[in-house]
Symmetry: C2
Subunit: 142 residues, 2 copies
DNA sequence: GGGTTATTGTTGTACATGCAAATATAATTT
DNA sequence: AAATTATATTTGCATGTACAACAATAACCC
């Protein structure tokens, strides 16, 4: 069944969550190339671009709760892709050499992913949609 | 931090999941009025509109995996809002009187929710966005 | 009719995410 | 300097969702 055929196709809750699930599935496929779920991959890319980044900054950048960020970092630590150093109340997260080696592949994943939905949807169309979603999400202050 | 300030604000994975999380939070607030999480509420509304609806149909209507539908039904059964009857391999899900009593309140929740984001975003803008999201989600066959 | 295949639904398990509370440290106030 | 308040991070617990494997039944084909 297509989403448009659902009686809830007019509802923002329904459509945004259905879309997110579908997009995530696509992303999961793409990110299998580096054996990471997308959420882990995005955190790792942020840390690679800004080594030493703190969880609070990651929380803002990724729009995830601090607790979620902690959990993601734990997983990446287990895979030896990041290390954490704590002094005082502050924590710094650094990428390991293993993560740096992975970086080129990750960049390819990003490209492949955006290519894939640009092919499906058209470049202009998809970038307009993304901008609209951003605008709306930012208006939803809770 | 706003989503637009994130370095991932151009990425469909990031924006669609961030938007979905925000919208879900808003929906959760609204649906507290009937003490149901939105996912449960939507399933229940579907069953109220079409008593006896089967899990496979619910899976299509709600765009959720069958296993997820089973879990939602279990929760609603615990709350005495639906009952299940099985004959052969088919299962029918029926709303209880308690659910029917709740129906008017649920309709109000739907209205309140759509009102809330229409106020924030404008009626035209938000309905256009929803349609775009539907169109795109439907193109993402996986 | 009997064997194969397809459909329907449920379970076991895993993971992502969040909230609220706890912890630890820093900053501020008095 | 002590007490209070604010900030950063982590933990306990709960929930939602999915995949894969399973079970049960129905449909099909020979």
């Amino acid at each position: 069944m297509n989403i448009r055929d659902s009686k809830y196709a007019q509802c923002l809750y329904f459509t945004s969550s259905a879309l997110a699930r579908k997009v995530e599935k696509l992303a999961i496929q793409v990110w299998k190339a580096v054996d990471l779920p997308p959420s882990h991959a995005y955190l790792l890319m942020a840390v690679l671009e800004d080594p030493g980044m703190q969880p609070s900054a990651l929380s803002g950048e990724l729009q995830l709760q601090p607790s979620t960020v902690t959990r993601l970092i734990e997983k990446l630590e287990e895979k030896k892709l990041v290390v954490r150093t704590t002094e005082g109340k502050l924590t710094n997260v650094y990428p390991t050499p293993k993560a740096k080696e992975l970086q080129p592949k990750m960049i390819k994943c990003v490209q492949q992913f955006s290519q894939q939905y640009a092919d499906l949807l058209g470049v202009d169309e998809s970038s307009r949609l993304v901008q609209d979603m951003v605008a709306i999400a930012d208006k939803l202050k809770l």
